[in-house]
């Protein structure tokens, strides 16, 4: 039996270069799926940047006579219950959804690396304190915190993003702490210390480059998860507010009318699914590319 897995395994076995030609192998063509995924990621990012100008119609223009029109030449993705053009809303919403996701991931990654590295390297007392703070962060569900923040700051996408940041970083801090603790005790780190390498160089040239590989994978996997939680926050009303074109909010609104207009649910859903899958595959490819021991395989 030959499934797709078997085929790719065979291809890998046959295609793996001998050790001596490993460097030439690193310039081998990357497999098709990974290329497509990277292309999709770039495409989605491009849409997030120029989408609002590509939108054929005003994404916020309510046109009740055109309510819930199926996909047609006039409205490729159909219209929603308020008669707004879904294609325009998906294109405009890319920026909202992706920028919120990226801000959350960028900030939490930075905090996670900082706190995790500090916990692993700054001694037992600092480790205890920082990890207990992480426990507190992990104990708070994002939606509860977002509801609290929404009460304090007013419900908005900003509140949702802040709430996400506050609840998302402890996971990264724990992950970074674990891998840095492991790398810290590696023999090559001891070796570098024995050569008189200073603390800063030890951390930034030896420990972190050998620890953060796993973060590429984790963060790209989390693109999908964060996108969905932000959408969920919009769904319960503490995230993006009603008229704004945000993919999750669009799905939430369309879910009430799915029997009358599946397209209003399908297209923003497809946008989320496609983006999530593409980021996952691209993330795995990135990990392989950045790990010299996996290069050329």
């Amino acid at each position: 039996m030959t499934g797709p897995g078997a085929t790719s395994l065979t291809a890998r076995l046959l295609g793996r270069p001998a050790p001596l030609t490993a460097r030439a192998g690193s310039r081998r063509r990357s497999p098709v799926i990974e290329r497509v995924a990277v292309a999709v990621v770039l495409f989605v990012v491009l849409i997030a940047i120029i989408g609002p100008w590509l939108a054929p119609q005003d994404p916020y223009l309510v046109n009740l006579p055109d309510s819930l029109q199926p996909p047609s030449m006039a409205h490729w993705f159909g219209t929603d219950v308020n008669g707004r053009d879904i294609l325009s809303r998906v294109l405009t919403g890319a920026r909202t959804t992706l920028s919120a996701t990226f801000i959350v991931l960028a900030v939490t990654t930075a905090i996670g690396i900082l706190i995790g590295t500090a916990a692993a390297l700054a001694g037992r007392v600092a480790d205890e304190i920082l990890m207990r703070v992480c426990d507190v962060g992990l104990a708070l569900p994002p939606i509860v915190l977002a509801l609290g923040l929404a009460a304090a700051l007013g419900p908005s996408l900003t509140s949702a993003v802040i709430a996400m940041i506050a609840t998302w970083w402890p996971g990264y801090a724990r992950l970074v702490r674990t891998v840095v603790t492991e790398t810290r005790d590696a023999e090559f780190v001891e070796g570098a210390r024995m050569l008189g390498v200073g603390r800063a160089r030890l951390i930034f040239r030896h420990i972190l480059p050998n620890s953060l590989n796993i973060m590429y994978v984790q963060v790209t996997l989390d693109v999908a998860a964060v996108m969905l939680v932000i959408s969920g926050l919009s769904f319960v009303g503490v995230g993006a507010q009603v008229p704004s074109a945000e993919w999750g909010a669009m799905i939430a609104a369309a879910a009430n009318n799915v029997q009358n207009g599946w397209w209003a649910l399908l297209f923003p859903g497809l946008a989320i699914a496609l983006t999530a899958v593409a980021f996952n595959i691209a993330g795995d490819w990135l990990r392989v590319r950045t790990d010299p021991t996996l290069r050329g395989r």
Binding site: R23, E187, G191, H206, P209
Partner: protein, 299 residues
Amino acid sequence: MSLLRISDLRVSYPGPSGPVEVLHGLDLDVEAGARVALVGESGSGKSVAARAILRLDTDAALAGSIRLSGTELTGLPAKRLRAVRGSGAGLVFQDPLAALNPVRTIGWQIMQPLVIRGVRRSEARRRGIELLGRLGVRDAGHRFDDYPHEFSGGMRQRAVIAIAVIAEPKLLIADEPTTALDVRVQAQVLELLSGLADERHMAVLLITHDLGIVASFAESVVVLRHGRVVERGLTDDIYYRPAHPYTRGLLGAVPRIDADPSVRLATVPPGTAAADAGPGDDPGQPEMPGEKQNETESP
């Protein structure tokens, strides 16, 4: 004056019920350019001694004195210790793959000891390639930018040696440098180490359990067991006239190609009073002061 003079070195590590002493007063002198072997079985404390010299273990408590080129290393502040590491003494590890940073090129790592001492990159690169070539890596100029996983085991150990010696230390501590290599490569690596030590007038402290490699390499031998020196002397004396029963046991346990295959290989039997000079009942070492009598071993 000796290059390295260790006197009454005691090393203890924190244990569940207070510190546990694992090295009970080591005295060791290494003259400039000399080759000394520190020999013992697993757990004898030989690696602990090696690691203590460069203060590798931050949680180890040291007592006694370690003087390298006249500088007292015990209690030396971290900043001055950094200056000693690499240029005063280099360390070669047992497992060359683990000792190399997997995400940096071999060349980057060889250049590092020079780069952090302010040597220009182009100069560091030139010297690195030259040294790697000297250590028998063919086409060193091209292999310089390879990653560790692209090197074979023997080449990795050459790279590790290059890293340890590029800053021209006066003392090289080699902790089981050939254990992870096959026999043929072992001989090559030892020969290279030997040649390099002669060229640079570099002293080598070889730490090993393998008596086979000691004979051809070291001038003098210190035999360690359970954290104590049981015998020391010139290599020939130790090999032909071992005084301590433990040393005799160790030598008898080395497999020989000319031995009668029907005779069982000798082992060092645990628990026999003569051979097993455990901590606390060491009949062969009357000069050990302050021995504790609390650890008695049943025969």
